[in-house]
Symmetry: C2
DNA sequence: CTGCGAGTTCAGTATAACTGAACACAGCCA
DNA sequence: TGGCTGTGTTCAGTTATACTGAACTCGCAG
């Protein structure tokens, strides 16, 4: 499992908006390795363009990461498919939509569109992470993971409490994820922030795998009166994105099993050819 | 120089918009290493989130790269400082502006704004690379590199010819870069595409280092009549961005030496305290 | 059913990476 | 100005790492 590469990745993950610049000694202390080792890692990463040296011998993230990210976005159909549908959602409701993926057991926000009627959600943001057990998108994404994965995640990150409504026990989480998987959507009822609710639904790729989740965030006082309409709206929007990605659900409201056949192009594997 | 990390970075750089998905065998062939080695690299990178496995055992870029890129953009003052000034430039001229950095001896486009009067420049694009010897931004960036670096770059990538005007000999390049450095801006006179010209100027950070270049691209028939005004416009815009980054040039038109003092905040190092 | 090609695993060996101390350099305080 | 503490950087020896190449499994096609 190439420990050297693991360490290099650890180094990259040290760089955050809070501390975007690191020196050799700091990295050595953070990873608990000798200075010379940290030095070698930083030098190599800088030589490869993944980091860049500042004048004073410290390091920042390198532009190659920007390039790779653009390549990712360019080659990923997800954002291209989701953005117009999110825009329509925002235009119709005036609220905030999120698009998120699961990375390393946490929710990574990939896109966020704010409506004119929306309240500012400062916690979420494009490129930011949040724990998965509390948000709507997080619960959707966890619900479609093997339970053992969920357990591992919970054991490492714990079930941090944000509000009185946050899920804090494994048993609660298990039951909630079970329900989310079966009904095909999730609610966040003031679990991450008092006064904020959301409805979220899964997005599947052509193989039927859940690769992302979409949500519509709404102030609590506007959520409960419109819960039903909100639910169908987000479920429908997520389904449309999934279809754009080549997924076609077998029979809605029952089967969450195998796919039948894609309506998208570039898919002619099995029978004839 | 941690060869394992170098190989890992090589693997990442294999992923392009043209081929965003790689299998073990393909990677092994591309890097000329045994399959098991490629397998270990891919597995490790995927475990770290820098890659993701598709269902069929192939690999794509991972969302962690998106996260890192967002952190880079968030912590880099460059784009934040440049964007409004580029917008004003576009609003005033109706042409296309580019913002680019030098990565690995090539020009990496970081931002691109198109005006309403502009012609579509298909070659450039955010996240795309081009050789440095032909474009305006490229010549600006090379001009402020040590000549030995430039030589190394030229020896590896060569001086590819795009149009009859493209610089193709080292001597031409040397003279041009010398002029660009002294006059503080560069022209591209149909060197990358027939009918397309541009003027470009360097952007410096608070230490005086050239970290990026900005350009204004114009059809040839509109370039020559307005060359003087274009030049002052782009030089002025780049200077404003540099000042935003904390650079204050000593005395314009002569000294390119040390800085005197920043007018930006967060800088009170030397005398008192 | 068989063969080819994909991805994956494993044990032994060669070599790459880690260690820790010494070096160079800058800024800061006396 | 002169040490002093804190950087980043270098190096040689040793350990433990990563590479090798063949064997294995699985899916698809003939």
């Amino acid at each position: 499992m190439l420990q050297t590469v693991q360490k290099a990745a650890q180094v990259l993950r040290l760089f955050t908006p809070q501390q975007p610049e690191w020196g050799v000694t700091e990295v050595a202390a953070a990873l608990e390795i000798p200075k010379s080792g940290a030095h070698a890692l930083l030098r190599t990463l800088a030589a490869e363009g993944l980091l860049q040296r500042t004048g004073n011998g410290r390091y920042r993230l390198g532009w190659t990461l920007f390039e790779l990210s653009q390549t990712l976005l360019d080659s990923s159909a997800l954002l291209r498919a989701a953005r117009p549908i999110m825009e329509r959602l925002v235009a119709g409701w005036g609220e905030t939509t999120h698009l998120a993926v699961l990375v390393d057991g946490q929710v990574l926000y990939v896109e966020k569109l704010q409506g004119d009627r929306a309240l500012e959600i400062v916690l979420s943001g494009v490129g930011k992470r949040l724990p998965a057990h509390c948000s709507g998108v997080g619960k959707v994404l966890l619900a479609h993971q093997p339970w053992e994965n969920v357990l591992r995640i919970v054991e490492t990150t714990g079930l941090v409490s944000f509000t009185p409504n946050t899920i804090t026990t494994v048993e609660q989480l298990r039951a909630e994820l079970e329900r989310v998987r079966q009904q095909g959507f999730a609610y966040d009822q003031e679990e991450v922030m008092v006064g904020l609710c959301c409805a979220a639904a899964p997005i599947r790729d052509e193989s039927g795998q859940v690769i992302a989740a979409m949500s519509l965030s709404v102030p609590a006082y506007r959520f409960y009166p419109n819960q039903q309409r909100l639910t169908t709206a987000i479920v429908d929007a997520a389904r449309r994105v999934s279809e754009e990605l080549g997924y076609y659900q077998e029979d809605w409201a029952w089967g969450n099993g195998k796919r039948s056949k894609s309506r998208s192009s570039g898919q002619a594997t099995s029978v004839l050819t």
